[in-house]
């Protein structure tokens, strides 16, 4: 919902040419500290700056690649498509917005779901992609997420979600708000079935997605520097009419306030999840 202010961040995943690739593609300039990085090193470090630790946004498929065992991912429900339920037209029709997002990202929707293994442990994956209409949750995101949760319950395997979202998708009106209820109710069933659910909050994890399945994990992990909050910083500033403190709503801030379990740098995510699953999970 707060796509506008997210776009204003200098490290916004939506902003074009964030990585200022130098023409031959051999070198990359970190958008935070301007360090010139050899592109092979950049990729090997999972697109995290070796100098300042800046975590660059990743696409859903890049996420899957770094979190799951090689070639273990099998996508599910890739055949679900959004359509313009309300005949919604702002500066452009919703149907056109969907087509453009599909063309720009090569994705059909803002979430990819599927089954994979992590160090041999079968898991269900829910992976959001911010580039698709700000990772917003409409009917298709809600349905794919819910199906993934239900699959975890039916197959008795743990669930992992990677959040990157501006919130509910306004273009689907109240239907998108109700996806919060739908996904949370499904998590309720998973909870009662005593199957582990781990949330990974990446930049940005906000609004309706954070206020539903995005923060209902048994364990919540965040990437360094990720923006995590219910309301957008601009909305808060306008409401309270004062400047926000430095570092407000960052991963480190919510850790300090007791809202998440840990902040984990990208290359340690997979081993951390793997260890947590080994500690928490015994297949019944």
């Amino acid at each position: 919902m707060f796509i506008d202010w997210i776009n204003k961040r200098k490290d916004s995943p939506d902003k074009k040419n964030v990585f200022k690739e130098i023409p031959d593609g051999l070198w990359i300039k970190c958008p935070q500290c301007n360090q010139i990085i050899y592109s092979k090193d950049w990729k090997e470090n999972f697109k995290v700056c070796i100098k300042c630790g800046y975590h660059s946004p990743l696409s859903a498929y890049e996420r899957i690649e770094i979190l799951t065992d090689e070639n273990s991912f099998k996508e599910t429900d890739e055949n679900l498509l959004s359509y313009d339920i309300l005949g919604f037209h702002d500066t452009k029709p919703y149907s056109q917005r969907l087509l453009e997002a599909q063309r720009e990202t090569g994705l059909k929707e803002a979430v990819i779901t599927g089954i994979a293994t992590i160090d041999g442990i079968p898991v269900n994956m829910i992976v959001m992609d911010f580039k698709f209409i700000g990772g917003s949750m409409g009917s298709v995101v809600g349905e794919k997420v819910t199906r993934a949760i239900e699959r975890s319950i039916n197959d008795n395997i743990p669930l992992i979600s990677v959040i990157a979202s501006g919130g509910a998708r306004m273009q689907e009106g109240l239907i998108s708000l109700f996806q919060m209820a739908k996904t949370s109710a499904a998590i309720g069933k998973l909870d009662r079935a005593r199957i582990p659910y781990i949330c990974i909050l990446t930049h940005p994890s906000t609004a309706g997605v954070l206020a539903s399945f995005g923060s209902l994990g048994d364990i919540i992990i965040a990437e360094p520097g990720a923006l995590i909050g219910f309301a957008g910083p601009r909305v808060i500033e306008q409401t309270i009419k004062q400047k926000l403190p430095e570092g407000f709503q960052t991963a480190e801030f919510v850790l300090e306030h007791g809202m998440i379990d840990m902040v984990v740098e990208r290359k340690k995510l997979k081993p951390t999840i793997s260890l947590l699953l080994k500690l928490l999970w015994r297949k019944k």
């Binding site: 359509y83 809600g142 239907i175 954070l210 206020a211 539903s212 409401t239 309270i240």
Partner: protein, 272 residues
């Protein structure tokens, strides 16, 4: 014949300065209401009133968002914009209701959950998410009434139920029309257009299957006759309550899940 109102006109009615609030209806609908305070973690949020009372002969748990009447009262109640404590207090009372087998009536009237520093520090998103999850599992009937403003996650945080009623001139939206206008239409003056596009009136929501029933208001709006409006709410509640109270709990929960499960419209391509 009533003149057909535009969505924006209905929103103005829902926000009318004389529009009755939860506290106006409370004594009309319930007897012996006793208010209970505090979330047992941090504080007591006056934007959400909670307690128990009698609905006719029946015991009920009552949750209601309150904007306040006088300037002082409005400030105290933060204009009906709850903090995490409000959602946690509501959940505490709802869990008590479940423990003692008492049905829950939840009344919504909020511009939204409060966007402030303290609210973020104390986990506004987490508080709402937990309510969504827990309300879907509560083993007692839950009836929800949208009185005036159904402001996004702030409304949904006490809005999961077996039956959703909405007053004729109330609205319920994923975002305020003003917010939508400034973000999507890139012009905050386009709130009336956004209000139409978002399909947020009671009638639109009923057509979309997102609410179950509309409670009619007196001509001119609820503020023209509070007693009559309260009577309409009472009659609607009575009817639903009788149906829900006789439902075996397992069927109630199964139907609640299916109701939530079925929200959403999409196309499923046939796999090649």
């Amino acid at each position: 014949m009533k003149k057909e109102l535009t969505p924006w006109e209905r929103i103005l009615l829902a926000r009318h300065p004389q529009r009755p609030t939860f506290l106006d209806y409370l004594p009309e609908l319930f007897d012996d209401f006793i208010e209970l305070h505090g979330d047992r973690y941090f504080g007591d949020d006056p934007a959400i009133i909670t307690g128990f009372g009698f609905f006719g002969e029946e015991r009920v748990a009552i949750i209601g968002q309150e904007k306040g009447k006088t300037v002082q009262d409005k400030i105290k109640r933060n204009f009906g914009m709850p903090h995490p404590e409000g959602y946690r207090k509501a959940l505490r009372i709802m869990k008590l209701a479940e423990k003692f087998d008492i049905p829950i009536f939840s009344f919504i009237d909020t511009p939204g959950a409060y966007p402030g520093i303290g609210a973020e520090e104390r986990g506004q998103a987490m508080a709402i998410a937990l309510n969504l999850k827990e309300m879907s599992l509560l083993r007692v009937p839950i009836i929800v009434v949208i009185l005036s403003e159904g402001g996004s996650g702030g409304a949904l945080g006490i809005g999961i139920g077996d039956y959703i009623l909405i007053l004729e001139n109330a609205y319920y939206s994923v975002i305020s029309p003003e917010g939508c206008a400034s973000i999507l239409f890139r012009d905050s003056n386009k709130a009336p257009e956004a209000a139409s596009a978002l399909k947020i009136t009671a009638e639109d929501l009923l057509k979309l299957g997102l609410v179950d029933e509309i409670i009619s208001e007196p001509e001119g709006g609820a503020h023209m006759d509070i007693i009559k409006t309260a009577e309409n709410i009472r009659n609607a509640l009575k009817k639903v309550y009788l149906i829900l109270k006789n439902k075996p709990v397992d069927i109630l929960l199964k139907e609640r899940y299916e109701k939530l499960r079925n929200y959403g419209k999409f196309v499923e391509e046939v796999k090649k």
